[in-house]
Structures are given as structure tokens and as C-alpha cells.
Amino acid sequence: MLADLLIHPRLVRVEVGLNVVVGFKVVPDETLIKVSSGKLDMNVAVKISTYDKNAIEEAVRIKESTGGKAIGVTVGNTDRKTIREALSMGVDEVVAISTQYTDVLGTATAIAEEVRSMNPDLVLFGETTTDGSTSGLGPMVAEFWGVPVITFAKSIKLDGKVIRAERSLTPVVEIVETELPTVVTVTGEINSPRIPTLRQIMESSKKPVRTKEFKSSPMASLDSVEPYLVQRKRIVLEGKTEEVVQKLIEALRKEGAL
């Protein structure tokens, strides 16, 4: 029944192309952040926040299937190579708003301003970023823009101006529906982001990037970021499975863990 709803939606024919705005954030690659001398070394390579690629992919698919436009918006670090990655995935244009540290509220204010002036049919975000991870941006932009929001969508279907989404609200799954325009945040499971070809990367360098600045006065200021580390024993047990299992059981018994 549930599957039917998703796999066989009424045959959809959308007459007008949909304009989609997709937010994505340039973040330090969390897997590269290391602790050295008790401090976090944040001077690492940046990337598009993991699940924002899913949002970009979804935006591009919708644009492709309806013949509309997909416009990217990013606030904060406006690293051009990372922005080009979004463009090479199929985003038509990017608005890059550079700013110092800003809280979610500030980020939402900056994005909502863009969204209002573009007046799209749909605004997509990832479910959460890998740095601030507030999951707050989508709901806030919806609130400022005055439209409904659907968070944690693991699939979406469009039928004219009606959007239907499957929300993953552990342990509940909900199928919900509302009218466009709306804001949707998508989970990492919604699709597999495409890997752009070299030719698409070449073309992306010709696509427009509009740069802006935003001054913010955060209500939530970030005072400090400390390593969150738990020291472990790191004992390696290697060899024949029977032997290492025996050793492990002995060790666990000694520790009083079994």
C-alpha cells in the first residue's frame, strides 16, 4: 500500500518547468579534522556538506524532469572549487553569500531574502550539515518565507503543484502532502548523488556565480570548539580467529565486562 503510493503515483505531467532553489554549505571535511597538542586542527580541505549533495541531486532531477531551473545558494565559505562542484552536478547558477560566523537564524535570514526575491516553487536543503548540524535552516527559511516545511524527506513526488513526501521520523514513517511553494529537507537516503563528468566540470566553469556579502550579528555565538575525545586502550588482537576470540573473552572477563 505504502509502496504503491510511491511507486505508482498518478501519471504525472507537469506543464510548467519548476524552479528549485537548493541550499548547500561549504564545510571542513570532518573526517580530516585531527587533534594535535590538545587542539583541533581545522585547517583542512573543505567539501559540500555530505547530505547537501543529495539535496542538489534531487533539485537537479526535478529541474531535468520538469524543464525548469535549479539555483544554488550558499552562505559562509564561498570556496569556488566547491561551488563549481554543485554547478557541475547540474545546478544552473549559484548565489554565493560570504559572511563571517553566523548563527542559523542569520543564515536563514540571508537565504530567505534571496528566496523571496526569486520566488521559486520549491526550496530544498539537506537534513543537516556535518559541522553545525542544527537541522534548523530549512524550517527557519520556511517560517521567514511563510510557506509549509517538510523535513527529513526520504522520497518526494511532484504532481503539478502538489508535493508528496515520505518523511523518516524514526520510528515513524509518514507520507505527507502539501501544495507548492514549500521548503523540503531531504535525508541522505533519498538518492545517490551523481558524479559529474569532466566535460560537465568544464562547462560548469562558464555558469554564473553571483557573489554577495552578508553582515550578521548572531544571537547564538560560537565561543569555543574543543576536541571531543575519549582515550581508548587500542589493543589490537590479530591472528587466528579462534585464538583472538579466546583472548578477547579472557580480556573482557578480566575487565568485568562479560
Partner: protein, 402 residues
């Protein structure tokens, strides 16, 4: 025939980035393909760079590049068991610096972007073929056609192999094992040390090194492939022993083992073919004369030249004349220095260098500092005779280095 860009640079290390920057500065459209997620991600992490060629490419690099410490102390250590001979030469200078490649390469890739290079990461070249007067590069991101490829894909030179101009043999390589260990060096902020260690444990043919970074040290050694095979030792265990022998404690931030070219001037592979120029490690450009290991400055130097030649070829509208690259290299420090190191290269191939001489030096000094027989030359002679060598062969071996 329409091409996708003027030049494809394969490999985003120092050589490839330098080539891309210098070609882009000449106004060429350049795409750089790197298999790692970012430049530096696949590089062995620590090292020392002589900055002269970097400064030619980026004149204000000393102010902007993420360099760790200037090397102001050169220490030479000869070991034989638990006996050691050490001397240190100190000189304030800014000719060479310790660097962490992950940072340096990443920085240079941003310089490349700023110069107009299109960098494409997570891009693995899986093949290359000649087609329509140019080269078609095959990758996990589809094909790409260019009139000119600059190959900077590292020691195993896959692009040359795809094009059928290169074969690999084990004698062409050494194994480099490196580790970055978190520890605050006991040196003033603006000083750094480079240490060379001769006479590694287990009679391995090779040498060890240590460079002090800002908040860590890079340590490691290079050994001949066959000596690891012969002695059947695990490089990961060797480096642990080595670290302990240096008295270094701290968290190991990175460990890596990696092949290093060991070819010498006469053994260099083809450096060009029509529509192709090879730079850096892929071209076997490494100097290891027992005192210093140099690869980075050669990669940057050869890359810079390749980029300039690329512009010339486009002007000539003839991308087959890559022989110009070879002749420009011959006129540059790159080939001059590789040629000059040729002799010591042969010296290093001599097993006595690793096995016998450290013992002899230690024995001689040992007798010097113990009460007893102090006739140095005689002790040395006796010691050498025991090894079946004479003073003349010692002299001959050492002369390779001068």
C-alpha cells in the same frame, strides 16, 4: 578535431600543480585531474622542500605557503648497534623548510584554482590513447580529449604506461616509509632540524631521516625494495624501532609507505613523447645522495618548465614538438643537479656504504675515545682488512661523493 581543453594535467601533486599554474598563467585552458579527494590526500605526509623553484613560480610563497620551519640545523648520524657518531651543522637560512604535504599541496591547489586552473578531484585516470591528433584520457568521470597531456601522476607513471612508452622494473624504486608524530620540538620557533641517519638496523640498504615541523616531527627512512624483501621485515615494525631509536614519543598522526624513484641520470625514463611531457616523480626526478633527498623542488621546477613549453607549443600550433621540453630541462637546474648527483647515486648503490662503513667509522672512533691504541689510521686499516677491504677502496667509495 575539437578538444575539450588545451592541456590535461594528470596528477595534482606539486609537479602537476606547478605545471598547471604555469600553463594557466600563460593563458592556456588547463584541467587538472587528481584521484584523491583533494591535493595532498594521497601524498606521503612529511618532508623537506628546497624553496628556490617554488619561489620562481610563486614569488611571495615564503609569506603565504604553509611552510613549517626553516631548516637551520643539519644533523648527520652514523649508527652501528648502540654506538653513534653525530655531528650538527648550524646555519640560519631560509633555503629549505620542513613541510606537511597535505597542507602544502592543498594550498598550491588553491593557488592553481586562483590562476584559472580547473581542478577535478576524485578523478582517476584509467586509460589514455592517441586519437585525432591528440590524446584521449579515460577517467571515472568520462573521457576527455586534449592536444597535450602533462603527466605528473607519480612514481608508477600510469599514463606513460597506458601510452606504451614505459615499463616498470623493481630496481627502479626504493621504499619510503614515513610517519608524522605529534610532539613539540625543543627548538626555537624559527628553527628546524633535518637529520640524516646512516646504518639502520638489520643491515637495511637505506637511510633514515627526521624533520621537525611546527608541532610534530616527520620521521622515516628509504630502503631498497630488495632489502625489505631479503630481510623479510615489515616496514611498519621497522618504523616503530626507528622511532624508538630516535627517542621520540607521541601520537602517530599519519603513517604511510610509498615507492620512491631510484634511477639516477642514466636510468631516467622517457621524459616526453608527442603530445606528452612527464614531470616530477613520474619522470624519475629524485636526488638522494646520502646527505639530502630532493624531489619536491625538482617536481616544481620540471612542472613549471612543462607549463611554459605548453604555451610555446600552442603558439607553434604543434603539440608534437615536446622535445623542446627535454632540451629546456637540460638547460635548467633540474637536469644539472640530477646529473651532478649521478656519481653519488652510484656510490649509494654500493652495499658497503650501508653495511661496512658505519661499522668501521664507529670502531675507529670507539678506539679513539677509549684508553688504549690511538693510532687512528692503523685502527682503520685493521678494521677494513677484517672486512676484506683496503684504504684505497674506502677512498674510492668516498670519492663518488665528491
Amino acid at each position: 578535431m575539437s578538444f575539450d581543453a588545451d592541456v590535461a594535467v594528470v596528477g595534482g601533486g606539486l609537479g602537476g600543480l606547478s605545471a598547471a599554474i604555469s600553463a594557466a598563467k600563460e593563458g592556456l585552458s588547463v584541467v587538472l585531474l587528481e584521484r584523491g579527494a583533494y591535493s595532498g590526500s594521497k601524498n606521503v605526509s612529511g618532508g623537506r622542500i628546497y624553496v628556490h623553484s617554488l619561489l620562481k613560480l610563486i614569488p611571495d610563497a615564503l609569506e603565504r605557503a604553509p611552510l613549517e620551519r626553516p631548516i637551520t640545523r643539519e644533523t648527520y648520524e652514523v649508527r652501528c648497534g648502540d654506538r653513534r657518531v653525530t655531528f650538527t651543522f648550524q646555519k640560519r637560512n631560509r633555503d629549505s623548510f620542513s613541510v606537511l604535504r597535505a597542507k602544502l599541496d592543498d594550498w598550491l591547489s588553491h593557488e592553481a584554482e586562483a590562476a584559472g586552473v580547473l581542478t577535478s578531484f576524485d578523478t582517476q585516470v584509467t586509460g589514455a590513447r592517441r586519437e585525432g591528433g591528440g590524446i584521449t584520457v579515460e577517467t571515472n568521470r568520462g573521457e576527455f580529449k586534449v592536444p597535450l597531456v602533462i603527466e605528473a601522476d607519480g612514481v608508477t607513471a600510469p599514463t606513460s604506461r597506458y601510452l606504451g612508452i614505459r615499463r616498470l622494473t623493481p630496481e627502479q624504486f626504493m621504499v619510503g616509509v614515513k610517519e608524522v608524530v605529534a610532539t613539540k620540538p625543543e627548538l626555537p620557533e624559527d628553527e628546524g632540524e633535518a637529520k640524516v641517519v646512516l646504518g639502520l638496523t638489520a643491515g637495511l640498504k637505506g637511510g633514515g631521516f627526521l624533520y621537525t615541523n611546527r608541532e610534530s616531527v616527520s620521521i622515516g627512512f628509504t630502503v631498497k625494495v630488495e632489502s625489505v624483501q631479503e630481510k623479510l621485515v615489515k616496514t611498519s615494525e621497522l618504523i616503530e624501532d626507528y622511532r624508538e631509536s630516535l627517542g621520540i614519543e607521541g601520537e602517530v598522526l599519519e603513517y604511510s609507505a610509498h615507492l620512491i624513484p631510484y634511477m639516477g641520470y642514466r636510468g631516467l625514463p622517457p621524459l616526453y613523447a608527442p603530445n606528452l611531457m612527464v614531470v616530477g616523480d613520474a619522470a624519475g626526478m629524485l636526488i638522494s645522495d646520502g646527505f639530502v633527498i630532493r624531489g619536491m623542488d625538482l617536481a616544481i621546477g620540471s612542472g613549471t618548465i612543462a607549463g611554459q613549453v605548453a604555451a610555446k607549443l600552442r603558439e607553434m600550433n604543434n603539440f608534437t614538438r615536446t622535445d623542446i621540453y627535454q632540451s629546456q630541462l637540460e638547460d635548467s637546474f633540474v637536469m644539472r643537479d640530477i646529473k651532478a648527483a649521478w656519481k653519488s647515486f652510484k656510490g649509494l648503490s654500493n652495499p658497503r656504504f650501508y653495511e661496512v662503513y658505519p661499522q668501521v667509522i664507529c670502531d675507529v672512533l670507539d678506539s679513539m675515545f677509549s684508553v688504549g691504541d690511538r693510532r687512528l689510521l692503523k685502527v682503520a686499516q685493521e678494521r677494513l682488512r677484517k672486512e676484506g677491504l683496503g684504504l684505497t677502496s674506502l677512498a674510492r667509495d668516498l670519492l663518488w661523493f665528491t
